[in-house]
Amino acid sequence: MVKILIVDDEEINRIMLREILSEAGYCNFIEAHNGQQAIETARQHKPDIVLLDVIMPGMSGIEAAPQIKASSPGCYMPILFITSLDDEQSLVKCLASGGDDFISKPFEKIILHAKVKAHERTRQLSLEIQEKNQSLTYFQLEVERNHRIVEHIFDNAIGRNPVTTDYFDFYTQPEAQFNGDLFLCEQSPSGGVYLFIGDFTGHGLASAIGAIPVAQLFTSMTLKGLAVGEMAARLNRLLVNLLPADMFCVASVLEIHANGKNFTLWSGGLPRLAVKTSEQEIRLLIDPQHMPLGILEEHEFDNQTQYFETEWGDTLLLYTDGLMESQHKELGMLGEAGVEKWFTRNSQVNAQLLVDKAELYRAGAAAEDDITIVLYKSRPFQFELPEPLAEPIPFNLSFHLTAQHIKDAQVIDQVVAIVNSIPGLAAIRSELFTVITELTNNAIEHGILGLSSDTKAEPEGFMEYYEQRRDRIAQLEKGDIWITVQRQMPDNVLEISMQDSGPGFDTAALKHCEDETFGRGFVLIRELCQSLHISDSGKQIKVIMPIEPVLDDADIPN
């Protein structure tokens, strides 16, 4: 309801104004007799419209007007001067002091109604704007607060380890400006490094939000030392489930071996990777092979990786498309070739130099997309292996597999997955896979199924052997395998023992057949383990495996 403040020292005027306005439907009036009272009443009652007499004893209307106006900051509150003056100077003074209109004495009903109505409309609009401004301010504060929270989470979620990043020269945009690019870098359990460089579709907070789960999953996978292709497949699965259909992540996952020369790459849509020699010649250009992460369903996804090698002193360049999409007014888009030209023409090239050159190229125009650049000079990684937080504790893990489990084609995978999930075993997961698979297959094929390796001697026999395996598994009704995996301290070795319910076999026969296409499994076990002990007519096999990785460069044939 519109509230009208009537300020006049003469009661007759106040009564007349009320009467006239009541006829137009107004009914909420407050009154004051002079300027000072008007100011106090306005502050207290917040009127919508003020009718203000010009000449009053004490404080005049012209003196009071600025302070009455001030009682409604940020919102239009009309002051209509009541006056019988008609000289121009007085009218100008009224307007200059904050008045918005005049009501002439004697009062004319129709004009008064129309003027009050018109100012009421403006007041109403102004109130609506004020309300909207308030909610905008509220939302803005809310957004700022949310940004601060998310920024805090980002800092913690995407913390980069300086020991690792020291080996790289990189440029990323400040985290405070949320962007869709993500650069992650972690040590691998075998002493090398894993990198993730990603570019989510879109800009700002919405595109950055995917970075958190990606960073968390990536870090946990690097601790386990997963293969690059498997990492890509898991990240893809995460993003397919998480992102809306129109959002995806262009990305590369790269593993660098501890020697700094061997690389495994899964690349989905980033600009091609470039490697230059210390003579500034391009050694390799590797095109992306796959669609970005977060598009293909699990069964469509291709986890194929590319493998390449460099020489020490070579420089590797990875970047997101924000760099190559830099636009020049006449020369157009910079492109991959343009980036590579800058890369090879500067022997001292670094990430900041490329960013600066791109800015010059754009002639000061803002980049249209986020930019991330990573350079790596090929050299061995020398990480201090972290001191284990606590002395590893010994454990004893045992499995009992019956015929029902042995029939399951995935049984060995399950056993390996359980053993590999134990903290500290990531560094030897490939070796563990081989040893457990060999031992379990040996127990199943020779112990339980009674297959003879002699079958494998002929080309057709090899396939026949596996057909027999399939047939016998299908018919299997009884059979047990007991597996125990023990960590023994303080030697820090794994003892793996495998026992089966089969009839056993002639262990002497094993000795003379190792050079042929069978018995090869035992050769592997002997090499990967410290000791191999067969007892109980071949029904029980016990091996001891070191937990420290036994691998070094000398083992890799060239």
């Binding site: 293969a227 194929q304 590319q306 490939s430 297959n441 396939m463 090869r520 499994g521 592997l524």
Partner: protein, 100 residues
């Protein structure tokens, strides 16, 4: 996805193995070189994605050489990860395969 194979440049037969190279691939691997293109002179086995391997994989590789023994083929194993290279080395595969 566990095995992909194609003939490159008319004469190289390229076989790419997935993350696991174990006995579950016996039939699939055998089928890959069935009816091998007569123009093929070289077989490349790409193990860049392979992280796990067991002795039946070694058997499959040797068996392939036996089955194709009447063809004059050279065999190469490419892009092995260090752990896999070690298994091939233990088994002295460098005698029968060119390992890169």
């Amino acid at each position: 996805m566990s095995i992909k194979a194609e003939v490159v440049n008319d004469s190289i037969f390229n076989i790419q193995i997935g993350e696991r190279f174990d006995f579950s691939l016996v039939t699939e691997f055998r089928n890959v070189y069935e009816d091998l293109d007569p123009r093929v002179q070289q077989v490349d086995i790409d193990l860049s994605a392979t992280q796990y391997m067991d002795s039946s994989a070694l058997g499959m590789l040797l068996n392939m050489q036996k089955v194709l023994a009447d063809r004059q083929l050279t065999y190469r194993i490419l892009n092995t990860r260090p752990q896999i290279a070690r298994i091939l080395q233990i088994s002295r595969f460098n005698k029968k395969f060119e390992i890169q």
